[in-house]
């Protein structure tokens, strides 16, 4: 890789002392990227853009928002009605949250399909799981800020979960609330954390990219790059491809923002919080529904452990199990392209998650209860039983020696046809 020479004297002066320009050149321009990435590889950069949009719109919202139970609801409506383009900022932020999760979920399932979590990318994967965890906490606390009925009751239900902790449950919940119910101190701390966590996420994304750039991107074939013939420079090939992908995402994002801005929101959140009136159904936002379903799937005590506590543990475990995935997967082959059995089960898992989301969106009554239990059980069976077993039992198809050889042989199913 060539060392760039900087013609501009100021750039050269700075670069000699702090090589930011050389760094950027290596990591964003020359950076060798597999030549065969398909469009599923766009979603990482899309997530980065969404994070920046959320931070920018969030900061502007924060300039007008009042974190007090008496004023929060009205201050959000003031943003909608009286702040110049306040409605735009808020709707971009609100829908931005949903689009961010959509993009990150696709990004995550991309990793599951192509085995991107396997050696030597385990740390990269683990940081990703930490990011998703922080995103959920951020989004949950953001949902509370407008102080509508769903805000208040979601906060009440979720914080109450910690009362399931043995011995100290009640103390923990009171400590979280800053009092004896969800009230002004709760709103205040949620606001402080909702402001802080996105910057933590930003830092995590930086480390995520650092880890990525050590071993570079995986690719649809799941074989490592071996030489120059396997790679192309990030710029201009992937800068333009990412830019095009961003245009497509913006079409979707703006279609919602301008024409169906409340599509993802429960109407109840336009009713100001009222601790005396419980809504008929208390629902989180769509992207947390699968976890909500897992939480409520456990309806029975096991030995001396209460159903509630097991539900909470199951909910956290459903994310934590992803940390173990690099070691649970026993197959030496990365990409599902060459794993006929795993590929089937991947799609079953996708369906299972959709079912969980559907169950989470419905009241825990009738056949939703067994359905949620089956789907929850299957989720854990997939990771803890099927993934290790399939790795042993499956006979993978022949894996090509290199990306370039697959392309010349014309057998690269993931290759870009441009």
């Amino acid at each position: 890789m060539s060392q760039p020479t900087w013609k501009n004297p100021i750039v050269a002066w700075i670069d000699y002392r702090l090589p930011v320009f050389t760094f950027a050149h290596h990591e964003l321009v020359d950076y060798p990227t597999p030549r065969n990435l398909n469009y599923w590889w766009n979603f990482g950069s899309l997530a980065g853009v969404m994070l920046v949009i959320l931070i920018v719109t969030g900061v502007f919202l924060a300039m007008h928002y009042t974190p007090h139970t008496d004023y929060a609801f009205a201050s959000v409506e003031r943003i909608m009605r009286d702040v110049n383009y306040g409605w735009l900022i808020r709707y971009l932020h609100m829908n931005g949250g949903s689009i961010f999760f959509l993009v990150v979920y696709i990004h995550l399932f991309r990793g599951l399909y192509y085995g991107s979590y396997k050696a030597p990318r385990e740390v990269l994967w683990i940081i990703g799981v930490v990011i998703i965890f922080c995103m959920m906490a951020t989004a949950f606390m953001g949902y509370v800020l407008p102080w509508g009925q769903m805000s208040f009751w979601a906060a009440t239900v979720i914080t109450n979960l910690f009362s399931a902790v043995p011995l100290f449950g009640e103390e923990i919940v009171n400590w979280l609330w800053g009092g004896f119910s969800v009230a002004n101190p709760t709103l205040n701390r949620f606001y402080a954390l909702h402001f802080l966590l996105p910057f933590v996420i930003f830092a995590l994304v930086f480390v995520h990219l650092w880890a990525l750039h050590v071993h570079k991107s995986n690719n649809p074939l799941g074989v490592e790059m071996t030489g120059d013939s396997d790679s192309i420079p990030f710029h201009p090939y992937y800068t333009i491809k990412d830019a095009f992908g961003l245009g497509v995402l913006f079409l979707v994002y703006f279609a919602f923002t301008f024409f169906a801005p409340n599509f993802f929101l429960e109407p109840d959140n336009y009713i100001e919080a009222n601790p005396l009136v419980t809504p008929t159904h208390i629902l989180p936002e769509w992207y947390l529904m699968p976890f909500y379903a897992i939480l409520r799937a456990i309806t029975f005590d096991i030995w001396f452990i209460s159903a509630k506590l097991i539900g909470v543990i199951a909910m956290f475990a459903s994310i934590a199990v992803l940390f173990l995935l690099p070691w649970l997967d026993t197959s030496p082959v990365r990409s599902a392209t060459f794993r006929p059995v795993f590929k089937q089960f991947f799609w079953i898992l996708v369906i299972d998650c959709v079912v969980l989301g559907y169950v989470g969106a419905n009241p825990p009554e009738g056949w939703f209860i067994p359905l949620g239990q089956i789907a929850t059980a299957y989720y854990f069976i997939h990771f803890l039983v099927l993934i290790p077993l399939i790795g042993f039992l499956e006979r993978p198809r022949a894996v090509p020696d290199s990306i370039a050889s697959a392309i010349t042989a014309g057998t690269n199913p993931g290759v870009e046809q441009s």
Partner: protein
């Protein structure tokens, strides 16, 4: 006092329990002027709807988030707004002597509320609070259709076997069917200055248009800007795609 709070609580519990017990039917879909992608608020309906709100609903329901000046967004002139505001009195103060006083409303004031506080509103309505209507079409599923159905589908008598509580009214579309709001609209409840006949359906239609505007005053601007943004992004994306193909063709 304690008795009244108790009564209100009981009423609230009953309403919530009733809402749980029976889901209301889905309101029929209507063709609203503001419903379509490029739709705007029908100005004539909106103006008539303001009349319905101020002379009927405004007797019980507040509109706290809407100021008279906001009417400028739907083509009311400054003089018209002043004149509308001037029909109302609001409390202000304290003055130099520390006294609260009432004065004529100004365009910057929010719509004058019928009751000074929630307790007063409850007391005047048999223990049930008539909710603020500023966001009503956003705060219900299929808000506009629901509101129209709610206002037009009152029944004089509950169906056979339905136990209607004292002081409650039967409404087909209210969850649980027991509503504390008495039938609000009757043939000729208001007199329209534009000669439109004030049927119940007409008034319900007009006030729904007005309240849909009150809930989403930014809608017209939002859609107008949205079209421009989407066309811009579409053209940009098409160009990026062409560029992408061109750049990638170097590889072959």
């Amino acid at each position: 006092m304690v008795g009244r709070i108790l009564a209100a609580t009981v009423a609230a519990v009953i309403t919530v329990a009733a809402a749980n017990a029976a889901e209301a039917p889905r309101p029929p879909g209507q063709k609203w002027s503001f419903g379509e992608i490029f739709g705007t608020y029908d100005r004539n309906a909106l103006r008539r709807g303001l009349t319905v709100y101020t002379s009927v609903c405004g007797a019980c329901h507040s509109l706290d988030l809407v100021a008279y000046r906001h009417l400028g967004g739907v083509d009311y002139t400054e003089d018209q707004i002043k004149a509308i505001a001037a029909e109302f009195e609001v409390e202000d103060g304290p003055d130099e002597d520390g006294e609260m006083f009432t004065r004529t409303a100004l365009p910057a004031d929010t719509f004058a509320a019928p009751f000074p506080n929630v307790q007063a509103a409850r007391a005047a309505n048999g223990g049930t609070y008539p909710p603020d209507l500023s966001l009503i079409t956003k705060a219900r599923k299929r808000g506009a259709d629901y509101l129209y159905a709610l206002l037009t589908e009152y029944r004089d008598e509950a169906p056979e076997g339905f136990e209607l509580l004292d002081g409650m009214y039967y409404n087909e579309y209210f969850p649980g069917h027991q509503i504390a709001m008495p039938t609000p609209l009757f043939e000729g409840s208001v007199e329209y200055t534009d000669g439109t006949e004030a049927t119940v359906a007409q008034m319900a239609w007009d006030v729904t248009t007005f309240l849909a505007w009150a809930a989403e005053p930014e809608m017209e601007e939002r859609k107008r800007l949205g079209i421009k943004v989407l066309i811009f992004v579409l053209v940009l994306t098409a160009m990026l795609y062409a560029l992408k193909r061109q750049i990638w063709s170097r590889l072959h």
